[in-house]
């Protein structure tokens, strides 16, 4: 399902956070949203997930404006993984992942065979099947983060919007996470992630949108977007782009003078 937005403007508490943003994410691709803290990545994802109404412009999923989607149907098509990883009660990992099946269950119905399959597959994909019976509040931050990704996967969405899903994961699980996103994209799903790790963006994402101060300042393939000039202008860093064993890596080398105190 294609995600598209034109001329998005959105405000939080009377402060304009997005100004005139155009973005698109294609089915079968991973699209990264990168940019410094406060650039508007989270707000953009929330608008695209239908959680915040823009005050100008339109966001649409599969050609239908977000406002026209019925909440239940939208929840079956699109999963949103918030950056915030609070879990309020001591549910087991399996019970948390099972929440992803709510949009697929009629009121009062228990877990169907399809629900159980989706839950088990999601637990296995995020390597948390062995933690299924453990309360999430007793887990480490990274383990809990994986359980929450598994919740979004269990939703079996056509489009997945994940806000910094790799933050707090060890390198092995970061790679496993993006390998799984690659599989999802190969199945024809739309994957959109907000990211800080430029190497992950360069390596796994088909398209990158670079945000700066509420605007999308560049969009295109990793090679188009992750240029020395862009990184200098937006992040204020001197970065090195290299290819090691066929894998692109972006290494921040130094702060440019006058950027941070």
């Amino acid at each position: 399902m294609r995600i598209a937005a034109r001329g998005l403007c959105a405000s939080l508490k009377a402060r304009e956070v997005l100004s005139d943003v155009d973005v698109g994410a294609e089915a079968g691709e991973i699209t990264a949203i990168i940019g410094p803290n406060g650039a508007g990545k989270t707000t953009l994802l929330k608008v695209l997930a239908g959680l915040i109404a823009p005050h100008a412009g339109t966001a649409s999923l599969a050609g239908r404006p977000m406002a026209e989607w019925r909440p239940q149907a939208l929840a079956r098509a699109l999963a949103y993984l918030p950056q915030e990883r609070t879990v309020h009660w001591a549910l087991t990992a399996r019970a948390v992942v099972a929440l992803g099946r709510l949009p697929h269950q009629p009121m009062g119905a228990g877990e169907s065979a399809a629900d159980m399959r989706a839950i088990d597959a999601a637990l296995a994909a995020m390597d948390v099947a062995h933690l299924a019976a453990r309360p999430v509040l007793d887990m480490s931050g990274g383990e809990r983060a994986r359980v929450l990704v598994a919740r979004a996967l269990a939703q079996e969405p056509r489009a997945l919007l994940a806000d910094e899903p790799a933050a707090g994961l060890d390198p092995a699980h970061q790679l496993a996470l993006f390998r799984h996103f690659t599989v999802l994209a190969a199945e024809g799903r739309t994957v959109m992630v907000a990211l800080h790790d430029l190497s992950l963006a360069a390596r796994f994402c088909h398209r990158i949108v670079l945000m700066h101060a509420g605007r999308a300042v560049a969009a295109g393939t990793p090679a188009d977007v992750l240029t020395v000039e862009h990184l200098a202008r937006v992040y204020g860093i001197k970065a090195h782009y290299a290819v090691l064993d066929g894998v692109p890596v972006v290494v921040p080398l130094d702060l440019l003078p006058g950027v941070l105190p």
Partner: protein
């Protein structure tokens, strides 16, 4: 995996059946125990009358009021995502108490018998409307707590004023006793007045289970799972106002049931807020019925009111809960 999954499905059903059986047993016990003897066949001409006019209304009220308090406690804790929440937090109990106290103070309750519960219901309704207006339609849990606190404080102040200004010592005693909460000496007519409202309120509260489960992940995640949080909030507030408002209107203030019951049952339902709703309904009914039977057993020696008993049990429990929460939140 399939066997394990099946076990998970049976466990909650088994728990609900067990709690249901406990509630039924407590109901029968409540019918059987009283000063005129144990059993369902009380001797003498008055026997059938005692069973029908004294014990039956008391048992029905105990079950309904206990269920309403337990269920609304579980619903509020789930919605506010706070284990210290209680029905009185949304201001409904305070409003109901104020309405009833005013009915006594103005002498209406002496003129016609229904003035007291009707005053309680009206007070609960006004308190609910005030809380909703104050909290606004877009606010989250915190604004609801603050609005509830503001309305209850105002109700408490006005109750004190009514007691302060009361010229009639009998009315004062009546008000004070009413504030303590009791299941005793309520007529079947009073039960039939409040029962439909309590049942309607409880039915509303049982509808929000899915939303409360989803809210475990926070508001954004719950909305992205397709839930309408505005409707959830309206349902929780209206359900609490109807069930607790009607309960308080007939029995007076019975505190802490809505705090203790969900807390005690939470580990048994795997901390799932949705499943906690029916469990707390049955658990609350059981707790209040058993507490009321215990009062009748000790009655020859001390004439305790049930609101006093639940407060005596509940306040230390609350302190323990605060200490436990403090330990969990400690760095």
């Amino acid at each position: 995996m399939t066997a394990a999954a099946a076990r998970r499905d049976i466990a909650p059903a088994g728990l609900l059946v067990a709690l249901g059986a406990a509630a039924c047993a407590a109901f029968l016990l409540s019918l059987a125990v009283g000063p005129s003897g144990f059993g369902f066949h009380v001797a003498g001409d008055a026997g059938a009358l005692i069973l029908r006019e004294i014990r039956l209304p008391r048992a029905i009220l105990g079950a309904l009021v206990g269920g309403a308090l337990g269920l609304s406690g579980a619903a509020l804790q789930g919605y506010l995502r706070n284990p210290l929440a209680e029905p009185s937090i949304v201001g409904v109990s305070g409003g109901s108490a104020l309405g009833a106290v005013l009915a006594i103070h103005l002498g209406l309750s002496g003129v016609f018998a229904f003035a007291l519960p009707a005053g309680g219901l009206a007070g609960a309704a006004v308190a609910m409307l005030l809380v909703m207006a104050l909290a606004g339609s877009h606010g989250g849990p915190v604004t609801l707590i603050l609005a509830g606190l503001a309305v209850s404080s105002f109700a408490t102040a006005l109750i004190s004023l009514a007691l302060n200004l009361s010229q009639n010592p009998f009315a004062t005693v009546e008000m004070v006793f009413w504030l303590m909460g009791s299941l005793a000496d309520r007529s079947l007519t009073q039960v039939w007045l409040a029962a439909p409202l309590m049942v309607a309120g409880m039915a509303l509260l049982l509808l929000v289970g899915r939303a409360l489960d989803a809210l475990t992940l926070g508001e954004d995640a719950a909305r992205s799972l397709g839930l309408d949080l505005k409707r959830t909030r309206l349902t929780v507030v209206a359900g609490t106002a109807l069930s607790v408002g009607a309960a308080t209107a007939v029995t007076g203030i019975i505190g802490f049931v809505g705090l203790i019951v969900p807390h005690a049952l939470r580990p048994l339902v795997g901390h799932r807020p949705g499943l906690l709703l029916p469990a707390s309904l049955l658990g609350g009914a059981t707790m209040l019925l058993v507490a009321d039977v215990a009062l009748r057993v000790v009655q020859p020696w001390v004439d305790l009111r049930i609101g006093v008993l639940t407060a005596l049990l509940g306040a230390p429990f609350f302190v323990w809960l605060v200490l436990k929460t403090r330990a969990e939140l400690a760095p």
